[in-house]
């Protein structure tokens, strides 16, 4: 055994801004997404959807469709192999509408044909006779005793009801401010449409190539609906064109498998953009009533709030969204007394579920508006008010859980506030003004405003959920020397978990070549690419597996009388070393009736400052700059972290001033990118970032998780800036031109005392 010569420096270790290994195929157009998959002789699937928000299915006639050229299968509820339902947290949704439809866009029938056009035409030839039922699309109305019910009548339409009581909920304060707030429905708008390719197997099973956030959860829901044991259903991750929560729920997975099994042919399904708006869940719209009380010197005394979240026709993740809205309903502040009542309800609107920052986004918009109102009432600087009440390590949030590990709330506030401001507006060039190339102003009605907001959220799954990730790390020798293979089921959805796995393995094992293999269900679950959790969980699993591999490598080196850092690892690999590890975070407590517990593993914090120019004559807004400081624990790849911050802020900007799924009687009125407006490069300003690295003792290298906070407080910061520029109250997002020009409001029409049960709401005059 020879001593290794000086080891070459590794490129792309933890803390470096290494380029993504999947970037070259992506820039070349060679990376295959779900919608790019094909097989010789494959069929194409299509879906028939409900035109009604609520109706009974009286008669179904598929004979014409079945007789059409090229049509290989037509499946309705009557043809399903089982009566199993599916759903992320409650199995309440039939695979195809059975007897009743509950929202506009619900899948009623599916078709496979030789080409996509034949499949589409066949769906049109299916005759469904409906008898409309009374529907409910007002979420507060859905909670009233006279509302039609969608599921079990004894639940009313309540999906989840969380009441947080902290200290004395009837506490009195010197200064009290109140408000009613609304967050409209936002779409994740991942650019890659829902898509999958199902291939029937010789064993009567099926292999599904699918763009998803969580292979194993899809498997759990798919297999019973196909009437198959899980071992006969194999999932492989296809390229994922963005997710942001929309791929956490099953969309076409079961349908495409059913068609493949029925025809014994490979079948691909791809939604177009319009169908995508109907086919996946959206962000929960919210109505919120808040009351904050403080002492005259600006110490928070109480927060009372009622939050009502529209779950749409099926439950999806409404349970967790309601819990988050309540738990984080007072924000990252020390609040001695609180009463927060959050309810999620079924309505005949499209189902809502996961979207980046869920639950926390909605309540942050309200509590940060309240903090500004409070600062105004106290005559205090709004940043000073926030810093004075910021949670410190050991302080308890309103569920009585102490914040431990790292809680740099004051740090994110102060460091964000210290970031440089943009220069004052110096030009009256229309291109630089609100309206841009629309050439709408010479600057006469343009006012500048600055706003600030802070937000918080949990990382990982909470409330006793068995949250784990599985990683297999194998080190072997090939013709070029040592190579590490990392296999997990973690979905790379764009966020960069491939980088995290690669950089951790390289750093731990000191081997330059690391291959991250394609995720599939032949290995254990990694959990979902959601809740900002993959760095912590799958990064943690890879780290743990690498450390076990290292123990064996150290043994092998020791047998030769050497330390591991004295040898070229390739020399120790006459046989490969492989370890499989299941990594869990510390247990969390089950949520009890009032959530007074240790429910979350850790918390993430961020602050945002927005500078806007507003044309008060046209109501148009140009966001000039966003500054942010975010508590990231440790940036495994700083470039990728900044990419998450900037991308999340763009989605927060969209919710602030552009993005709304507009509904009329439960139907989406703007199911296209022509009518659902997304921020472009002209809308998105420069972002100034400060990454705050206070390592968390439980995260890999101290890393926490970064994906969601950018989307949480960026929205309220922008709206605060618009309020500053215009003096308007602006109690809903997105802010529309009419809200700015005319002070239009969009009250719910319900009177609710903050903290009270929304089932006691009364109609306002």
């Amino acid at each position: 055994m020879t001593l290794a010569p000086t080891k070459p420096r590794l490129r792309g270790v933890v803390g470096e801004s290494a380029p993504r290994v999947d970037a070259p195929p992506k820039v070349r157009g060679e990376f295959l997404y779900g919608s790019d998959l094909s097989r010789e002789g494959m069929l194409y699937g299509a879906t028939l959807r409900s035109p009604h928000a609520h109706a009974r299915i009286v008669a179904v006639d598929v004979s014409a469709a079945r007789g059409m050229p090229g049509v290989r299968a037509v499946i309705t509820s009557d043809d399903l192999p089982t009566r199993e339902k599916f759903g992320l947290m409650r199995s309440d949704q039939p695979v195809l509408a059975t007897g009743v439809v509950r929202y506009v866009g619900e899948a009623v029938a599916i078709v496979a044909a030789d080409d996509p056009e034949q499949a589409r035409l066949a769906t049109r030839a299916i005759q469904i006779q409906y008898e409309p039922l009374p529907s409910v699309t007002d979420v507060v109305g859905a909670l009233q005793p006279d509302a039609p019910t969608l599921h079990d009548p004894k639940d009313g339409n309540v999906i989840e009801d969380v009441r947080v009581v902290h200290g004395d909920p009837d506490a009195k304060a010197d200064v009290v401010v109140e408000g009613e707030y609304e967050v409209a429905m936002q779409d994740q708008a991942a650019l890659g449409p829902e898509a999958g390719l199902a291939i029937p197997g010789q064993d009567g099973g099926v292999t599904l190539y699918i763009a998803t956030q969580w292979l194993h959860e899809d498997l759990r829901q798919i297999a019973p609906c196909l009437g198959l044991p899980e071992e006969k259903v194999r999932l492989v991750l296809a390229g994922v064109g963005g997710a942001f929560g929309a791929r956490e729920d099953v969309t076409l997975q079961i349908h495409v498998c059913l068609l493949a099994l029925a025809t014994k042919r490979a079948v691909r399904m791809t939604y177009g953009r319009e169908e995508s708006f109907y086919g996946h869940v959206h962000r929960h719209p919210a109505r919120m009533w808040y009351q904050h009380g403080a002492t005259r010197n600006g110490e928070l005394v109480f927060v009372r709030a009622t939050i009502v979240l529209d779950g749409g026709a099926y439950a999806s993740s409404t349970f967790a969204v309601v819990a988050n809205a309540a738990c984080f309903g007072a924000g990252p502040y020390r609040v001695p007394n609180a009463l927060i009542h959050a309810v999620g309800a079924y309505t005949n609107n499209p189902p809502t579920g996961a979207m980046r920052g869920f639950g926390a986004v909605q309540s942050c918009f309200a509590y940060e508006a309240q903090m500004d109102k409070l600062a105004a009432a106290l005559g205090m600087d709004p940043i000073e008010l926030r810093a004075r009440n910021a949670l410190e390590n050991g302080d308890r949030i309103v569920t009585n859980q102490p914040v431990e590990g790292s809680a740099p709330v004051a740090e994110v506030i102060n460091r964000c506030a210290a970031l440089p401001l943009p220069p004052p507006r110096s030009s009256n060039d229309p291109l630089e003004l609100p309206g841009g190339t629309g050439n709408l102003t010479r600057g006469e009605g343009v006012r500048r405003g600055v706003g600030f907001a802070v937000g918080m959220k949990n990382v990982c799954y909470s409330h006793e959920f068995d949250d784990f990730s599985t990683a297999r790390v194998r080190v072997e020798r090939d013709g070029e020397g040592g190579v590490v293979r990392v296999h997990t089921a973690a979905s790379e959805v764009g966020q960069g978990i491939v980088l995290v796995c690669e950089q951790i393995a390289r750093t731990e094992l000191g081997v330059q070549r690391v291959i991250v293999e394609t995720p599939d269900t032949t290995i254990g679950s990694a959990g979902s690419s959601s809740a900002s959790r993959q760095t912590w969980m799958t990064g943690g699993a890879v780290l743990a597996a690498c450390r076990e591999v290292k123990v064996e490598l150290a043994n092998r080196a020791g047998q030769r009388g050497l330390r591991i850092d004295q040898v070229d690892i390739a020399q120790l690999l006459d046989t490969p070393v492989e370890r499989l590890v299941t990594h869990r975070h510390r247990p969390t407590e089950k949520r009890n009736d009032t959530t007074q517990n240790d429910g979350h593993v850790a918390f993430l914090f961020a602050a945002h400052r927005a500078v806007v120019d507003v044309d008060v004559d046209t109501g148009l807004v140009k966001v000039v700059q966003i500054a942010t400081a975010q508590d990231v624990g440790k940036a495994i790849n700083p470039l990728a972290v900044i990419g998450q911050l900037e991308g999340g802020i763009a989605q927060g900007l969209g919710l602030a001033v552009m993005e709304e799924v507009q509904l009329k009687d439960g139907a989406v009125r703007n199911a296209s990118f022509t009518d659902y407006l997304l921020p472009t490069m002209l809308d998105m300003p420069p972002v100034v970032c400060d990454l705050i690295e206070f390592p968390h003792p439980d995260g890999p290298y101290g890393a926490k998780g970064v994906g969601e906070p950018p989307t949480i407080s960026s929205t309220p910061a922008i709206v605060a800036a618009i309020r500053g520029a215009t003096g308007r109250a602006l109690e809903r997002v997105p802010v529309r031109p009419d809200d700015i020009v005319f002070g239009a409001s969009s009250r719910s029409g319900w009177h609710v005392v903050p903290g009270d049960d929304p089932r006691q709401a009364t109609r306002t005059a």
Binding site: G192, G643, G648, T674, M684
Partner: protein, 159 residues
């Protein structure tokens, strides 16, 4: 099928033929008939730029071009940009700047950037923003894309 037509066009320098329905787009031809999956299908109506290609040198959304109207035209897709193993400078800049996340918008941005720098080798930031405002990215917030375009320009590509 009565409504089918044959189109003959130049794609990335080679003559190609495909049978299409009259209402189908150039994007459908490229992807579903010719297996060129690099041009992406995100919005179906010319709002997002994911299917950007050059047709007779003009930047177009392939989803808005009727297949029949591409008859006899010269079409260049993202697959045409790299020279074998060597990435096009714009492609390299996107990789290095961290401008790629999920990557679904990336081919469209690459083609649109190459067209921009061909016509304007030293664009200002406002010119870049204007030129690429027809391309939507949902992941990055555009900061690193802007950086990638600046980098491509300073490296003299297009000069």
């Amino acid at each position: 099928m009565v409504d089918r037509v044959r189109v003959k066009l130049q794609v990335n320098g080679g003559e190609r033929e495909a049978e299409v329905r009259e209402h189908e787009s150039l994007l459908t031809v490229l992807r579903e008939r010719l297996g060129l999956w690099g041009s992406k299908n995100a919005c179906d109506q010319g709002e997002c730029g994911s299917c950007s290609v050059l047709m007779d040198g003009q930047l177009v959304c392939a989803c808005l071009v009727l297949a029949g109207s591409a008859e006899g035209r010269d079409v260049r897709t993202v697959e045409d940009l790299a020279d074998g193993e060597h990435m096009h400078p714009v492609q390299r800049a996107f990789v290095e700047a961290g401008a790629v996340q999920c990557g679904f918008c990336t081919p469209g941005f690459i083609v649109a950037t190459a067209a921009l720098l061909r016509d304007n080798p030293e664009p200002t930031d406002p010119e870049i923003r204007e030129a690429l405002s027809g391309n939507i990215c949902r992941c990055t917030g555009y900061g690193k894309i802007l950086e990638a375009v600046r980098r491509s320009a300073t490296k003299g590509y297009g000069a």
